[in-house]
Homo-oligomer: 349 residues x 2
């Protein structure tokens, strides 16, 4: 017998096993779940220490913090899953300040009876997303609630990064005459989720655009440090994100429908579903607002990055005490683009 | 008409209103909920900016990060609620490194139909707990899931602090001959929750001990910088926390039942409920392990703090290749104190 007492008499059955209430007890079963599912996936010095907190080095700069909770349904969807989404979403919120994301935390709320195989698959997906993004998952927490008291799995993530204090990218800095850019096609994530949820199939399979945007952002701020605003148009879509910026900056916006990239299959699906792509969530796109004279240079650097190859200048910021976002339609008319009201696509992220 | 368009035609009905799916849409209703419930409670420069992330100053030191998800049931209990608990629990995880907690994030997963009055009460409780602890809630997120897909409210919190790099307080640093101290009576939180859940009433009302321990920790590390381990015995209780430290440090422990403070009403309730107070969660207590010769000084400084007035030396670390925690019972015998197995008290935090 080894001098080290084996704490876990039997390994978890990661193929057929299920999460039960003891996995949330804080006792032996919790430790086993953490060791066999999460430590295996996120292996690093911080988690191995099994302290209740992580100590991390921080390079020079200002601390940036963002947090998200993820309740997307279904958990697995074309192009991604809740694990990758939770990593990308939080990295993107950190990156929209111009920061370099460094550390993530992950909290899991699991419904009793959830398949361990699915939990492992999601943890592995998170780990892969974090590793690709060169971000470490340094702390976590696991809770289990009774069957019927959650919907499979929710994931809470917090991201920490550092930003060059010389950058001042804020949602309240849009100024009249600034140009508005989008990094690519809108609506992909929301339509992918909706198709999966409603068991719809279209001629072309629509994939979520879920992706970590900090590499693109790094290229952008290097080329144009005076970017005024960055925002990833998630829930509420492009329309709501533009209205938020307009409201916080005290300006109006004029955008051109013909310049907003929408994939033809997404447009077709939206028509079928009665949805407007401007209000559909994206998980791998960003809006950038910068002085007009820097816009061509910014567009060029965005198009040179794989996640910005379809980038476009879609409109301008204008002086407007009413802070309206107006769109020149494809037919040459003009219409108001209001905030999202109601919720056509619940639990999209 | 004001030049500023009023975004919210009607204020939320914080007395009789309920959360609906539109509050999780990311659109206008989400903004209204955030502004009227959360910004009101947590008002600070970071949240007012309404960016997707917060930029924070960090004093010299090493970054410390901890995260928690809170699923306690019921949401309101004698001595506290999920709001205060989520602040205290995460502050304590940060503080157990010897760090000063500075910033918190808060993510809310809300079940459709949840009363806005309860949400407001919980947000206010969080804000008060954070303010008392001099910690700012700098970022947040709100999601809503359909009725029956969550249990009222879950809260995810992440805490960020800084620690003096000269401190080395880790769960793997317990050494033979070290003394084991506890800051006060054990079992209060778990028994308070259990009594509320089971509608039990005892002669004396048992209150949760939920409290932020960083002030106590600051006094302790100032007096005895060479503390080896700190851990707050939450889920799994004192017994499990000691086993975790013993396992990570590769040592055994000998504790004395007669020296472990347990309030008489908690002891009586535990006997009635068939529970062992050593396995019951605490939310305002800590275990400290330090060199024997420094233990009297540490005990003195703990007892001088309001949250440590019942502190006691409860045992010693021993060399033991099997990493067993053994207890001298009140009757003079000896018994093994194992990890918590199973889960006698689900959803205690």
């Amino acid at each position: 017998m080894s001098a080290r007492v084996r704490r876990h008499a039997r390994a978890l059955d990661l193929r057929h096993g299920r999460v039960d209430m003891t996995h949330g007890s804080g006792g032996r079963a919790t430790t086993q779940l953490v060791e066999e599912v999460f430590l295996g996936a996120f292996d690093n010095e911080w988690l191995r220490a099994m302290d209740d907190q992580a100590r991390c080095d921080l390079p020079a700069g200002r601390l940036v913090i963002a947090t998200d909770t993820h309740v997307v349904s279904p958990l697995f969807f074309p192009g991604g899953d809740i694990g990758a989404l939770s990593v990308h979403g939080t990295i993107n919120d950190v990156a929209m300040s111009g920061a370099t994301p460094l550390y993530l935390t992950a909290g899991f709320i699991i419904e009793e009876g959830f398949a361990l195989a699915d939990l492992k698959r999601i943890a592995d997906s998170m780990a892969q997303a974090a590793q690709s993004a060169q971000v470490a998952v340094v702390a976590g927490d696991t809770k289990v609630v009774e069957r019927g008291k959650a919907d499979g799995l929710f994931i809470a993530t917090t991201g920490i990064g550092v930003v060059d204090p010389a950058l001042a990218i804020h949602a309240n800095r849009a100024q009249p005459h600034d140009c508005i850019l989008i990094s690519g096609s809108v609506g992909d994530h929301g339509v992918a989720i909706m198709s999966e949820r409603e068991h719809l199939s279209f001629d072309a399979r629509i994939l979520s655009d879920t992706a970590a945007l900090h590499g693109l952002v790094a290229d952008m701020v290097r080329a144009v440090p005076d970017i005024h605003c960055l925002r990833d148009p998630t829930r509420g879509g492009l329309a709501t994100a533009l209205n938020e910026i307009a409201d916080l900056s005290g300006v109006g916006m004029r955008i051109r429908e013909r310049d907003i990239p929408v994939r033809s299959e997404v447009r077709a699906a939206c028509e079928f579903l009665g949805l407007d792509p401007l209000y559909i969530a994206n998980e791998g796109k960003l809006i950038a607002i910068c002085p007009a004279k820097r816009a061509p240079a910014l567009l060029q650097v965005m198009r040179a990055h794989p996640l910005g190859s379809q980038a476009a200048i879609i409109g301008e910021v204008v002086a407007d005490p009413f802070r309206f976002v107006e769109m020149e339609t494809a037919f040459g008319g003009s219409r108001m683009v209001d905030w999202l009201a109601g919720d056509p696509l619940p639990r999209i992220c």
